[in-house]
Symmetry: C2
């Protein structure tokens, strides 16, 4: 069994102060897909770097902004950064680690909440990203795209859906994009293991005590090819840790 966790840490240094290392030791994932590192590699706290994982990073040009990583107990056979689109790759949003039996991606899609300019870039990112996804959809080697997509797919993925139809992250065109990505050949592994189950979220606003009231959004996914998804056994959102505004989404695969 391989346990893979997807976790937007909202600043690895902040998460470290709140007990990131305790989480790693207790949850003990084999692979951790990190998003929003908000640090350069050499700014990652020493206690984290001393964990028994191979670390691979893809950071943004801009300091303190974005950045993804994959930590793995096993050393990857190959690591790739970005998707080959310059402006995207300078924002540190995609990294891939290839192992003998599968590939893992750590993905951080742009947020569109700050206005039209960023919303337009988000949609551009998504358009390019779907083509990137097509490259791996029919490959013999199973793949899983873990990360923060900043989109809730369906009404049960967001609290108070009726009031959110004009909110970035739940716009019709964004939700449609998730549907299209699934049509390319990916499966929403967490949802398949918890079909129809309500009130399962992976992000809560820091405002208005959203987490204690569980007024959240499910925007962090494992999107996997069928050969990967069929191996999934158990999926959990690790809500008990308060390390970030997101919670780790951890899934065990029988590989």
């Amino acid at each position: 069994m391989i346990k893979i966790s997807s976790f937007n840490v909202n600043g690895i240094r902040a998460a470290h102060r709140k007990g990131f290392v305790d989480w790693v030791e207790e949850s003990d994932p084999d692979i951790i897909c990190i998003q929003e590192l908000r640090a350069l590699e050499n700014q990652v706290p020493k206690q984290i770097r001393e964990l028994d994982y191979h670390e691979n990073y893809h950071v943004a040009d801009k300091k303190g902004y974005s950045g993804v990583a994959i930590y793995s107990k096993e050393e990857p056979l190959k690591v790739e950064h970005g998707i080959g689109v310059d402006w995207i790759d300078r924002e540190g949003r995609i990294i891939m680690a290839e192992f003998e039996k599968f590939r893992v991606f750590s993905i951080y899609a742009p947020s569109g909440t700050t206005g039209d300019v960023r919303q337009d870039m988000k949609m551009k990112f998504l358009a390019d990203f779907i083509r990137f996804g097509e490259r791996y959809a029919n490959d013999d080697k199973p793949s899983v795209f873990c990360g923060d997509y900043n989109i809730c797919h369906t009404e049960i993925d967001i609290h108070n859906p009726s009031k959110q139809h004009k909110t970035s992250g739940f716009l019709p065109e964004e939700r449609q994009w998730v549907t299209e990505f699934l049509e390319v050949g990916y499966q929403d592994v967490f949802r398949e293991l918890h079909p129809g189950e309500e009130d399962l979220y992976s992000w809560w606003s820091y405002r208005a005590a959203s987490k204690e009231r569980n007024k959240g959004w499910r925007i962090d996914y494992h999107l996997a090819t069928p050969k990967m998804a069929e191996k999934a056994e158990e999926a959990e959102i690790e809500m008990k840790w308060d390390l970030s505004d997101h919670a780790p989404v951890s899934i065990s695969y029988k590989l």
Copy 2:
């Protein structure tokens, strides 16, 4: 007896979080000369504004920067802001409150620690300020200029003096300026009440545990005309409070 406190709060909002109101209630000064407010008047915490003091402010153009105030139990007969030099007055460094029997000033001299440009401005400020001091030196009404001058006068006003002769705040020309200000007709009231006494400081760097080791500087003064200084009875640096990197310098005058 009138107790006047001079206190660089290093951000009134931060000082408030650490118990500024407790200090006011326990120390109970009649007049508080505040420096480095680092807030607009309407950003001052409500609990402070609800204290039983008349408040008068002189803030900087730049938000979160500099700013002085005088809080007084009695309402001033007159309040004046600045010294009539535009660039100085836009930095919120001087306010005067006039009462029946005396005048009080709250002064915040520039720091020169960030480099030559600011050091030059500090010396320019001091040159203009000495002319401002001359206006009140021979006035019948006693005056006291309370504040943070960012200068240690003599070797006993700074820890480790032999190593500081090239440090902004203890440069020969700065120390000479204090001497000249005294020659204009002001007295260093705290020092006159504690002549020759060592290890009396009003500021400690936040670095290297300077305060617990009492590795400080005395840069906050009551500089008073003779008619004011002769009324001083008791002077204390209130080190027990940890509200700022400075401590309040409180002197009681028999007026």
